[in-house]
Structure formats: structure tokens, C-alpha cells
């Protein structure tokens, strides 16, 4: 409705209907014209015949010796502009009006119609051959006279009738078109009112208020139902992601502020008064530790941000990205060895030595994934427990499972554990060392590679993390794996 360039459904519909109506009206008027013409012509012809025949009837015996005939015009009504000629077989003109053209006479007795112009006007003529018998009662049967009557009247009358009929229909059509336009516009606008209601409802959406319920009228309109449902669903998705973003920002701010507060308080405590050299060096060491922690939080946030970037932006290099899952697991286990030893946890890797699973992931990301899952398992394991890592492959899919012997996971936590900064057990809090980003990073890596990750409580106790990733399985070629290791 806004701007001249926009397309109006109402206008389009009304114009379409009007054009269709106009076309059918034109066709109808054409048909009516043809029909009216033929009907009027028939009437015209009938009246020509009637008048001609009454002219024939007016041919009378002259009652003279030669048994001639004459035209007695008494009682014969001839049209005002009529032109006629009545002649006998000898060419003697019995009577005439105007100047009828000389028309070839038909051999047959059937009446013959001819259209000709007489002094610039269209006339229709009838040539009628008739017979008059003078004294039919006589013994010889009377004298037969062949009478030829040429009778014509202007066609103007027919034209007039046809024109009148066409004019009537044209006026009626114009009137109907006008009414149709008004009624159509009203009906269409009324029919489209659910669209406006939907738009009004949608207009109310703002970053502060994501509530959107499609109006009932829109939901009850078959054509609008998919749109209303799609809008509702899209907005719900947007709202969720918006809220997630908001929560992430607020959590990230909280995390960073806390880390900064630690660094700041460490340094300020150190500068509160003059201290001994030992106190200074100890304080500096602690401050450095605090800054390292801040750094690691920032680094993890940036990693997550990088992983959550759309994949398209670096699609060109994905083809070349590939790594051996077996090597990556070995690296991850090696990395976490000190922590595992600290808690005397045994890490058992169950992987077929002959099968090399290659993942289409950057080896750094794959290592990050494996070590994060492993660290999570170690953190949740009691001292002296065993963490089991296993890999199974199935038609281009690799399943990496890591099982700990911890307390498992509650259904509540299960839904949120991959959300950034979510910490299952609040009492563990930040002391457990995690920033609450580890599993979010895992999820981002898996999803980026087109896989998925989930966590569940194992029936035998403990939590089971399963990462499902697209993979290429190949019986390992010893030379290839050797060269890879050499890299």
C-alpha cells in the first residue's frame, strides 16, 4: 500500500476481474450484435416480403381490351423512404416510387434480396416475381401476367435497432463494471484484513518484547496459516538465540569481571604498603597466575567465537583439513597425563590399532575436542577411577565415547551442559578449574564438522559423552601413518 512501485494485491485482483469482465462483456456485445443483426434483418426481410406481396396484390385488372393490369395503390402501405418499381412481363412499369436500381431478375420464383446504395443510402431490395391472372373465370383460364416487383427500404432502421441494443448492453456493462469494482475492492480488502492484523501484531515486536501470537483471524485463514506459523516459529527461534546471546554476554562479562577483579585486587593488595622483597616476588607470582587465568578465559571465549563463525567463510581450507583420530586421542591422553596422575585415574583407550579414522577437522580443533571431553571426564571422576575412551566406526561415521565413573548427569543438567558457562553442580563452581566453556567448545567443534555431541548417564554409572563425527575409515597404511607422525 506504500509507494507507487509496490504491488497491491487488491488492485491487481480488482483489475484482473474487471478486465475479465470487460472481455466477456465485449464478447457478449459482439455476439449480441451479430444475433441482433440477423434477427432484425429477418424482421426487415419479412416486412419487405409483406409489403412486396401487398404491392403484388395491388396489381389489378384495368378492365380494358388488352386485359392489361394496373397498380391500385389504395390500401397499400408503403414505408416512407421506400423505393419500388412494379413492372409486367413486357417491361411496362405499373407503378414506382423513387429510382430503384435495375436489378437482374431471378429466374426462380423465390424472393431475391439485394443490398444496394441509392443516392448514397444503404437500401435493401426485394425482387419478387409474381403472377396475376386477369379474368381467371374465363374459359381460357384468363390472361397471365408475370409481375416483377422491386421493393426496397433503407437499411438504416436495422442499423438503428442493432445500435440501440448494443448501446443498452454497453451501458449495462459499464454500470456492472463499476459496481463490480467497488464491491470487489471492498470484498478483497475485507478478505485481506487478516493480513493487516498479522502485520499489526508483527509490528509490535521489538528487541525488548519478543512476544508474538499470530491473531486468530490469521490462523483461521488457510492461506495465512503457514505464514503465521512460520512467523511464530521464526520469532521463537530468534528469541531463543537472542536470549542465549544475551545470557552468554552477561555470563562472559561476569566471568571476565571476576577474573579482572582478582588481578586488580592482587596488585592493589601488594601495593597497600611497603613489603619485603620476598612478599613482592610472591605477590607478583600470584598476580601472574591470576593473569594467566584471565588470559585462558579470554582465549576460550575467542576460540568459541571462532568456532561459532559460519563454516562458509573458511570452506576453502576444509578440504585440506584432516587428522587421524587415533593420533589426536593419543595426544590428548598425553596432555592430560599429569592431571590424571594427580587423581590416580587410569585412562583406558579402546581403539582398533589397525583402523585409522580420519576426521575432516583441523587437528588443533580435534585435539581441543578430545582433550576437553577427557578433562571433563577426569574432573568428574573420583580418585583412583578409570576413564574409558573408545572409538567405533559405522558407514562414514565415527563415534568417540568417553565414559567416566563419576556421579553421572541429571536430566536437568543434560539439557544445559553444553551451554556456555553452565556449571552442573553449583557447589563446584569455579574451583573445579573450568570456565564452563569446555563442553560448549566441544559442541561447536562437532557441529562445525557436521557432527553432534551428547551426554548421558551410563546404565553402569558415570557419565558417557558421545561425539558423532563424519569420518573416513581406512586400513592404515604403515608408511602413511609413519609419515603423518613425522609431521
Amino acid at each position: 500500500m506504500k509507494g507507487s512501485a509496490s504491488i497491491s494485491i487488491t488492485r491487481r485482483l480488482v483489475i484482473t476481474v474487471l478486465i475479465l469482465e470487460l472481455l466477456s462483456a465485449v464478447a457478449l456485445i459482439a455476439a449480441i450484435t451479430v444475433h441482433e443483426w440477423s434477427v432484425q434483418l429477418e424482421i426487415f426481410d419479412a416486412s419487405l416480403v409483406a409489403t412486396a406481396e401487398s404491392l403484388l396484390g395491388a396489381v389489378q385488372d384495368t378492365e380494358d381490351e388488352g386485359d392489361n393490369v394496373m397498380l391500385d395503390m389504395r390500401g397499400v402501405r408503403v414505408a416512407k423512404d421506400a423505393v419500388f418499381r412494379v413492372e409486367d412481363e413486357r417491361g411496362k412499369i405499373l407503378g414506382s416510387a423513387g429510382e430503384p436500381p435495375s436489378l437482374e431478375t431471378a429466374a426462380s420464383a423465390a424472393p431475391l434480396f439485394r443490398n444496394t446504395a441509392v443516392s448514397g443510402r444503404d437500401y435493401r431490395f426485394l425482387v419478387l416475381n409474381g403472377t396475376r391472372i386477369v379474368d381467371p373465370g374465363k374459359a381460357n383460364g384468363g390472361v397471365r401476367h408475370s409481375i416483377t416487383i422491386v421493393y426496397g427500404t433503407p437499411l438504416r432502421h436495422v442499423w438503428h435497432e442493432v445500435r440501440e441494443a448494443v448501446r443498452f448492453f454497453a451501458i449495462a456493462t459499464a454500470f456492472l463494471l463499476g459496481i463490480t469494482a467497488v464491491v470487489m475492492a471492498w470484498l478483497v480488502r475485507k478478505g485481506l484484513s487478516p493480513v493487516h492484523e498479522l502485520a499489526r501484531e508483527a509490528e509490535r515486536i521489538s528487541p525488548g518484547d519478543w512476544q508474538f501470537h499470530a491473531p486468530v483471524s490469521a490462523k483461521e485463514t488457510a492461506e495465512l496459516r503457514p505464514l503465521a506459523a512460520a512467523l511464530e516459529a521464526a520469532l521463537a527461534r530468534l528469541r531463543r538465540s537472542f536470549e542465549q546471546q544475551k545470557r552468554f554476554t552477561s555470563d562472559a562479562a561476569h566471568e571476565l569481571k571476576t577474573d579482572v577483579a582478582i588481578v586488580k585486587s592482587s596488585l592493589q593488595l601488594l601495593s597497600m604498603r611497603k613489603r619485603t622483597l620476598d612478599e613482592y616476588s610472591q605477590g607478583l607470582a600470584l598476580s601472574l597466575e591470576d593473569i594467566t587465568r584471565l588470559e585462558s578465559t579470554v582465549e576460550k571465549m575467542l576460540t568459541l567465537a571462532r568456532l561459532e563463525q559460519p563454516v562458509e567463510s573458511c570452506n576453502s581450507s576444509t578440504a585440506s583439513k584432516s587428522c587421524s583420530l587415533r593420533d589426536v586421542i593419543a595426544d590428548a591422553v598425553h596432555q592430560s597425563e599429569p592431571f590424571a596422575q594427580l587423581k590416580s585415574i587410569e585412562v583406558a583407550v579402546e581403539i582398533n590399532a589397525n583402523t585409522d579414522v580420519r576426521l575432516p577437522i583441523d587437528s588443533r580443533d580435534a585435539l581441543l575436542l578430545c582433550s576437553n571431553i577427557l578433562l571433563n571426564a577426569l574432573q568428574h571422576s573420583p580418585d583412583g577411577a578409570t576413564v574409558r575412551i573408545a572409538v567405533t566406526t559405522d558407514e562414514g561415521i565415527a563415534r568417540l565415547t568417553v565414559r567416566d565413573q563419576g556421579e553421572g548427569i541429571s536430566d536437568d543438567d543434560r539439557d544445559h551442559v553444553f551451554e556456555p558457562f553452565y556449571r552442573g553442580d553449583p557447589s563446584r563452581s569455579r574451583k573445579s578449574g573450568g570456565t564452563g566453556l569446555g563442553l560448549s567448545i566441544c559442541k561447536a567443534i562437532c557441529e562445525r564438522a557436521g557432527g553432534s555431541i551428547e551426554i548421558a548417564s551410563h546404565v553402569g554409572g558415570g557419565a558417557l559423552v558421545t561425539a558423532t563425527l563424519p569420518a573416513k575409515t581406512a586400513l592404515s597404511d604403515p608408511t602413511l601413518s609413519a609419515s603423518l607422525k613425522a609431521e
Partner: protein, 227 residues
């Protein structure tokens, strides 16, 4: 003066505790909401520093429970949440002050001291009883213009007593408010400190400022020194 810090972030808590102790306050630390609530409700603290995001029990609930028990201990909230609403809610729920993280350690100390002072009915950092003047910022004591050299504990005892002029303060109360759980304390330690304090405050020709009431405690005499 004894302060309770409820903060789950270990390193931050360590720093705050160290800073508070260096300014002569006794500090106890609780690392989660439940422990914090338990300690706070003993009613022995002169101020409470409360973090909001706590494991176990949120700072907000610790505060609500404290106020529900009619404990008037001043509470300073440490928060990393910026929203005005939550701050308004906190102040309405009975918080006395708040600081956003990352805060300035010096500011935190100043605010805690101000809270303690105000809760004891003093609005300026310089407290005076007759000819005795105690500056809580510089932690100096003067009598008749003369600076007195007090040990930190003696200063703290005097500071506590000067906040409660004419009131009888028991040894138990002094112990509760001057020492935290980390310190070794016995009532005869207090006696020794009081006796030293009394000697240092003593000026020839005046009655002793600190009275000892047998089995009841000590009292700071306001009219002392009226020549």
C-alpha cells in the same frame, strides 16, 4: 572489628581477607552461601561483605535470611551484575552498600569501615571521647594532642570501646569482634592488652579512661579527664 566475607572465588577472597587483616580488621571467610549464612547469623560481625553469585545459596537469599532474623549487621554486596534493577532490589532487600566487580581494593576497605562506623552511630572517621581522639583512617590515637603509640590489637580494642562509649563491653564481646577464627585467642590475652592500653592512655592526675567492672567487662568513661 570483625568482618565476614562470603565469596566463592578463592583468589579474590584470599586478597580481600589479606587486605582487611592488614587494615586491622578480623576477617572470617565463607566460600559458599550456606556456610556464609550460618556464620552471618551468629551475629558477631560488625560488617558482612557478600558476593551475589554463590554456590549453594545465593547472596540475595543469604541477605534475606539475615534480615528476616532481625540482624542489623551492615552488608556490602559485591556484584558483577550491572543491572540497575538488581541493585535496587538488593538495596530494598536490606543491603547497605554495593560495589561492582572489578572494584578498587582501597575503596572496598573505605566503604567497609564507613559501614561499620555508621552502624555504630558515628559518621566521621575521627572519633572523640573527652580529650581522647581516634582517627580510624590513619589509625592514630591522640590524647590532649599527644600521639600515643599503640599496638594494632590495643588500637582495635580502643576503637571498639570508643564506638560504644559508656556501655559495658564484656571480654566475650571483645573476643568475638576483635578476633576471627584463624586467631588463637584467650580471655587473658584481652586482659593483658587492656592493661597495656590503660597504661599507655594514662596521663598523670586523671582517672583511668577504661574502667574494669568485675565479672562484667570494661567501660570507656566519657567524663574522664574533666579536670
Amino acid at each position: 572489628m570483625r568482618v565476614l566475607l562470603v565469596e566463592d572465588e578463592q583468589r579474590l577472597a584470599e586478597n580481600i581477607v589479606a587486605a582487611l587483616r592488614e587494615t586491622g580488621l578480623a576477617v572470617d571467610h565463607a566460600a559458599d552461601g550456606e556456610a556464609g549464612s550460618l556464620l552471618a547469623e551468629q551475629g558477631v560481625y560488625d560488617a558482612i561483605v557478600l558476593d551475589l553469585m554463590l554456590p549453594g545459596k545465593s547472596g540475595q537469599r543469604v541477605l534475606q535470611d539475615l534480615r528476616r532474623r532481625k540482624l542489623q549487621t551492615p552488608v556490602l554486596i559485591l556484584t558483577a551484575q550491572e543491572s540497575k534493577e538488581s541493585i535496587v532490589n538488593l538495596l530494598n532487600a536490606g543491603a547497605d552498600d554495593y560495589l561492582s566487580k572489578p572494584f578498587d581494593l582501597g575503596e572496598l576497605l573505605a566503604r567497609i569501615k564507613a559501614l561499620i562506623r555508621r552502624a555504630k552511630g558515628a559518621s566521621t572517621p575521627v572519633l572523640a571521647v573527652s580529650d581522647l581522639e581516634l582517627n580510624t583512617v590513619q589509625q592514630t590515637v591522640r590524647r590532649r594532642g599527644q600521639f600515643l603509640d599503640l599496638s594494632p590489637t590495643e588500637y582495635r580494642i580502643l576503637e571498639y570501646l570508643i564506638h560504644r562509649p559508656r556501655a559495658v563491653v564484656s571480654q566475650q564481646e571483645l573476643l568475638e569482634h576483635l578476633y576471627d577464627f584463624d586467631w588463637e585467642h584467650h580471655s587473658n590475652v584481652i586482659e593483658a592488652h587492656i592493661s597495656n592500653l590503660r597504661r599507655k592512655l594514662n596521663v598523670a592526675g586523671t582517672e583511668p579512661l577504661i574502667e574494669t567492672l568485675r565479672h562484667r567487662g570494661y567501660r570507656l568513661r566519657e567524663e574522664a579527664g574533666s579536670q
